[in-house]
């Protein structure tokens, strides 16, 4: 910017013009949300693909035909970039404070689109403004591409590609929940919008559901309120000794699967068998000893606790899962069938579906007779990943070079 005061809208444009445009887009977005009472509906294949190609061609044409024009110079300059970052940041900031996507949102905030910003027209405008400016500056620095601009290119084009493909591909993301059981192969599910998908072109049958658990923890609770009193951590494992609230505690017996019969627990592997521990406690002040079996119980058997003095109870908490997995048989549309294991963090890919371990019947815990799986299809993922890997390369380059020119 020059020191002489220039008249607004006279080229070259600077911050005033950039921010006026950004704020106009912001208000326009709110107004359209308010009047139209609609959200932006995501476009799907093949429309988004054609539109994406058209946008890229338009950006290229626009740049190469008018690159000498002051308007394009403004679009690829820092003031425009800063206004776009601020516009985008402002919306993300609102998202950071206003709870998003609540089912019963209402009121003015909802009507101008702030209760679901991502699907509002305002966000669409911010995204377009951001992508056009980012696209222009990328083009300006990439033709001709010089060696010293490699970091710039990786960061800017990587970000552009990631945002662009993630946005136009959003409508093609399909997330289907499938509840697998042991009796038959399931080939249908419910998608993220609650719509039933009658035929997924693959079928899944549960063979075995497994939970690996941490040893259960012991707590001292108040008999009346049921609130936990101790701060110490004590795992119930055979031979474990320790202290809880000035009481020496020792576990002399522990069964991972126990069933209570004739006044004691027996190690029995049966549906609904629950962890059980024989615990001896000694109050360090009074030397009073309390001992007995405790168990967290299960959907089938009741739990057991040990009564201590002063209205306190020693209880066993439900063991926390370490990992859970499903052994399943998958039937594909081509007639193949194979067995595999799906675990949290270890999805399996079949016929374009990525299959995730999502949930199980918590009431039955490790005896769950169902396994809830999520099938995800995202045809744009490889383009998004290409952008992400460029960004990673750009970040490494930036870390190495710093701000040295």
């Amino acid at each position: 910017m020059s020191n002489n005061r220039k008249i607004i809208w006279q080229y070259p444009w600077g911050y005033a013009e950039s921010f006026i445009i950004a704020i106009t887009l912001l208000i326009l977005g709110f107004a359209i949300n308010y009047i139209g009472k609609s959200t932006v509906s995501a476009i799907q294949l093949p429309v988004n693909l054609y539109m994406g190609i058209a946008i890229i061609i338009l950006l290229l044409l626009f740049y190469f035909l008018f690159k000498k024009k002051p308007f394009v110079k403004w679009l690829s300059g820092t003031p425009a970039a800063i206004s776009a970052i601020c516009f985008y940041t402002f919306l993300v900031l609102l998202m950071g404070f206003i709870p998003q996507g609540l089912p019963k949102a209402s009121g003015f905030i909802h009507e101008i689109g702030l209760s679901d910003i991502v699907s509002s027209h305002t966000f669409l405008f911010a995204q377009i403004y951001f992508l056009v400016i980012l696209g222009m500056v990328t083009l300006r620095r990439s033709f001709p591409l010089k060696g010293k601009n490699i970091g710039f290119f990786l960061n800017h084009f990587g970000l552009w590609l990631t945002l662009f493909s993630a946005s136009i591909g959003a409508g093609d993301l399909q997330r289907v929940t499938l509840t697998a059981n042991k009796t038959d192969a399931v080939f249908y599910g419910v998608d993220q919008n609650g719509k039933i998908i009658p035929d997924l072109s693959i079928a899944i049958q549960l063979k075995e559901f497994n939970i690996e658990e941490y040893p259960p923890k012991a707590f001292i609770i108040d008999d009346k309120s049921g609130s936990i009193l101790n701060k110490e951590l004590f795992y119930l494992k055979k031979g474990n000794k320790g202290e809880i609230m000035d009481r020496e505690v020792e576990v002399t017996e522990f069964y991972k699967y126990g069933v209570y019969m004739s006044n004691k627990f027996h190690p029995v592997y049966d549906i609904g068998a629950a962890p059980a521990a024989y615990v001896i406690t000694k109050n360090k002040k009074t030397n009073k000893v309390n001992e007995g079996w405790i168990s967290c119980g299960s959907f089938r058997y009741p739990g057991k606790f040990l009564e201590l003095s002063d209205g306190m109870l020693l209880v066993m908490a439900d063991p926390e899962p370490k990992k859970y997995s499903s052994k399943v048989k998958i039937y594909t549309s081509s007639g193949d069938a194979f067995e595999t294991t799906i675990e949290v963090n270890k999805p399996v890919t079949v016929d374009g579906w990525k299959i995730y371990q999502l949930d199980y019947n918590h009431k039955m815990g490790k005896w769950s007779d169902i396994s809830i799986l999520e099938l995800v299809k995202d045809p744009w993922i490889s383009v998004v990943y290409f952008g992400i890997f460029m960004l990673i390369a750009g970040a490494l380059y930036m870390f190495w070079i710093g701000n040295k020119k």
């Binding site: 800063i82 985008y88 940041t89 993300v92 950071g96 110490e232 998004v384 992400i388 870390f399 070079i401």
Partner: protein, 265 residues
Amino acid sequence: MYLNFNNTAFITIVLWIIGSLFILCDQKIKNGRLIGNLFTIIGTLVIIVFVIILWIEIERPPLRTLGETRLWYAVFLPIVGILTFIRWQYKWFLFYSLGLAILFLAINISNPENFDKTLMPALQSPWFVPHVIVYMLSYALLGVSSAVSAWGLYLIKFKTFKPELLNKADNLVYMGFSLLTLGLLFGALWAKEAWGHYWTWDPKETWALLTWLCYLLYIHYRYKHKQKIITALWILALSFIVLLICWVGINYLAVSGNSVHTYSD
């Protein structure tokens, strides 16, 4: 558990203080700077060894709770501080990072933790460690850059500010920002493997993106306006506030209810 956090933290703090005193009086004591450096390095090694043993002991990476991330901060800040001190000889910088690390250790001493062994299945992933470590390193670097901005704003008030100071901060921001980018992207790649999608506008993701955007703004502003120091200093200081909300403040916000990033504190 034979590990005693309080004693270890106490030994580390004492070593750091002795080291700082030697460095503070290095004009009067022969080899004061060298001895001081040795003390601070040994103090840092003590806490590093503690983290390693803790990791083995609890059979999972100690990166889950807020207290555990404070512990990592207390490891990384002195490393950054000592390296920067050896490289650029800024005493205040070393004292700042050691002071902050001592503060974090003190908070952990006053909030004893049980170092629970349990780790929910979704966190059992090879991405867990790189995702959190690059964030911790990045926060340490950006924290230091924000200290520079605060120091700069103070110096400007007394008209003794030198532009080179902000150039040093820029270097820290570039390094911190690139690690911030890596943390965000590692998180996205991990989320795809664990939850089926790389971005779900989880409250923590939203705030992490906000932090990233703020530093992005700073970098672009500095790139264009090298001379406008005061605005740059303010952007840098405010960015760190956003970072702090993302790191610790998020648990207190109305939006945090259904976040996959809510840890037990």
